[in-house]
Amino acid sequence: MTTVDRDNDAPKHYVATGPYDPQSVERLTPEQERYFMAPQWRLIWWKFRRHRLAVVSGAILLAFYLSILISEFLAPYNLHTRHPDFIYAPPQGIHLFHEGEFVGPFVYGFDYRLDMEILKREYTPNTSKPYPLRFFCLGDEYRFWGAIPGRFHFVCPPEDGTFFLLGTDRLGRDMLSRLIYGARISLTIGLLGITISFILAMFFGGIAGYYGGWIDNVIQRMIEVLRSFPHLPLWMTLAAILPVNWSPLFIFLGITLILGLLEWTGLARSVRSKLLSLREEDYATAAMLLGAGPRRIIGRHLLPNFMSYLIASATLAIPGMILGETALSFLGLGLRPPITSWGVLLNEAQNINAVDLYPWLMLPVVPVIIVVLTFNFLGDGLRDAADPYYEGGN
């Protein structure tokens, strides 16, 4: 180590002649700059994209939700079309080759026989004649979203034939079509319910977190009381209280309200705790010192900070609502026909003897599981991405 002799070798005052560049020491690469300057939502997206499973789940859910926009077009039959000759018909498989020859997608017809011993309807595929399916065709009439009449379908049953990809129910209604229509109710009830919860959570969590003191205490106790009710029995009770003479649409709204009214507690808790902790952050203090009012602090600084987190929590709460509706309808306390949800369809599967003979009645289980699973994955990914400035963890 060399020591500098202060008296003799003191360097002269030196000023560089080149133009001043404040970033000469730490120059950001373009990638770094892009990353540092990116707005929050873009960071969230980048982080979310890394979560493969969540992206795939999001895509699947998007497909599901897009499908409910055009349910009428996608379903081969109308929701209510009955086929008295094909009650409890089994699923018809799609074939491509008939007797070694390529025909394109087609189905076989049925031979029908009633087993007099156990009174089981037995259908056997009749492989003598192929019935080719029609695509982008005219079929059952419908009213698009209950308003515009139409007949155009993505796939139609063959001329003078039937196409029950997933079998039929006790009135000879096509299960696939009913599943597609059921998605509309089952999926929207989750979104509507979470909207109600979300608003309630923002309100109660917001005032509890902002005002604190006795208001906070009262709301906290209220949440505790609501949380100590087991949800399903309480839902059942509330659903049973809905007047019997209400129209199915009102029942639908009522059930949505019931689901939303009980689910907000968890969300409200996170709103409150986030508000309490964010209020103490340096940037909130800084904004306050700069003279920002409470409205601006909450709206501009606090809200964007935990909004993403809240959306992630809300996503994780949606499956609970969908399952709640399914459970209620399954028990016969929820939605009533003609409104059809997956739970209403499952109501038919309550009788184990029917399920035993005609197992395809259980099929609505499949989309329920897929939707719940994908919502969980999506919510997980969103939660990880919600705080893009937080690195590390897992």
Binding site: S228, F229, P230, L232, P233, I241, P319, A327, F330, N394
Partner: protein, 332 residues
């Protein structure tokens, strides 16, 4: 510790009062009281209704009194073990309920024990073998368990048991023991049937617990003291067993509080599918026939069960974790 216990017990009282008030409002919500529907039913069967008898009944059950008073009569009656009168069965609610509450309790407790026993080793394995194939597989199974609604699982199991084994797995005991006094054989029979509802109801909770054990243990494993212990050359199993596991265990106990409402909810609907002699099917039945006293009692019992469960888990946590009992707070 004693101060904490007393404090915790005192908090429970207003909670229970609030719950009972909500339940009472729910009982009162359907238009008309039970006597109205009772009279309507008698009249529809063409029977003459004696106005004197109606008046007597009305006084007997206090329907002529203001609502607040009715509430107090009901609430105080409950404290004395009188849950009101089921109009559907024409019996006091206590007689109708019978040992259903006990069986619900039995199913719930066993389910939680099951969730614990299964989720703990799996969660620990997942955390210590993070990102291994075993971890991925178990995580996926956990997600599947979480996503499958338990009543659908019950339905599917029922179907497969019927098709593959040709037996019905419903019920909680062999038919010959139903309505029999408790005996050793009956207990055995119950134990034999118990595992199916327990597995069905417990799946979601177990899956949830696995994820939390994993997350908690992972958090703990990154802490400085673990690194220090490792650096000092402690054996890997001892590093995990000695401290992080014990810290992770704390939340395990406290989580009964969040697990229990789910389990009780789940058992309500699963027992309908599997036709268990617990509170679920009877609650549904009473709701369908608008027998609101019976339904209200069930709701009240289930909520009380939950509150007590949470209380026990809080106390156990306080016993385990000195931070909580010394601060006297109920921090989670």
């Amino acid at each position: 510790m004693i101060r904490y216990v007393i404090q915790r017990l005192l908090i429970m009282i207003p909670t229970l009062i609030a719950i009972s008030a909500i339940v009472f409002i729910l009982i009162q919500l359907p238009p008309g009281d039970y006597l109205d529907s009772y009279i309507a039913e008698l009249q529809s069967q063409g029977e003459k209704v004696d106005p004197k008898k109606i008046k007597f009944l009305r006084e007997q059950y206090g329907f002529d009194k203001p609502l607040i008073e009715q509430y107090f009569v009901w609430a105080i009656g409950m404290l004395q073990g009188d849950f009101g009168y089921s109009f559907e069965y024409g019996l006091p609610v206590t007689d109708v309920v019978g040992d259903r509450v006990f069986l619900t309790f039995l199913v719930s407790v066993t389910t939680i024990a099951f969730a614990w026993i299964v989720s703990f080793p799996i969660g620990v394995y997942s955390a210590t073998h993070q990102y291994s194939w075993g971890d991925y597989g178990l995580t996926f199974l956990g997600f599947l368990g979480l996503a499958t609604p338990n009543f659908l699982l019950a339905l599917v199991l029922l179907y497969f048991a019927n098709v593959v084994f040709g037996t019905s797995i419903g019920g909680l005991m062999d038919p010959e023991y139903i309505d029999q006094p408790w005996s050793f054989d009956k207990v055995l029979s119950v134990l034999e049937h118990l595992w199916i509802p327990v597995v069905v109801i417990g799946t979601a909770g177990t899956a949830e617990m696995i994820r939390r054990v994993r997350a908690n243990l992972l958090d703990e494993l990154q802490k400085q003291y673990v690194i220090t212990a490792r650096a000092k050359g402690l054996a890997p199993t001892k590093v995990i067993l000695k401290y992080p596991l014990r810290v992770a265990l704390n939340f395990f106990v406290s989580d009964v509080g969040s697990l229990l409402p789910g389990v009780i909810s789940g058992s309500a609907i699963v027992s309908v599918v599997l036709s268990l002699p617990t509170t679920g099917p009877m609650l549904l039945e009473s709701l369908r026939s608008q027998d609101m006293y019976l339904a209200g009692s069930f709701l009240m019992l289930l909520a009380t069960l939950t509150v007590i469960g949470v209380l026990i888990s809080d106390l156990a946590l306080a016993a385990l974790d000195p931070r909580i009992r010394l601060e006297g707070g109920i921090t989670r």
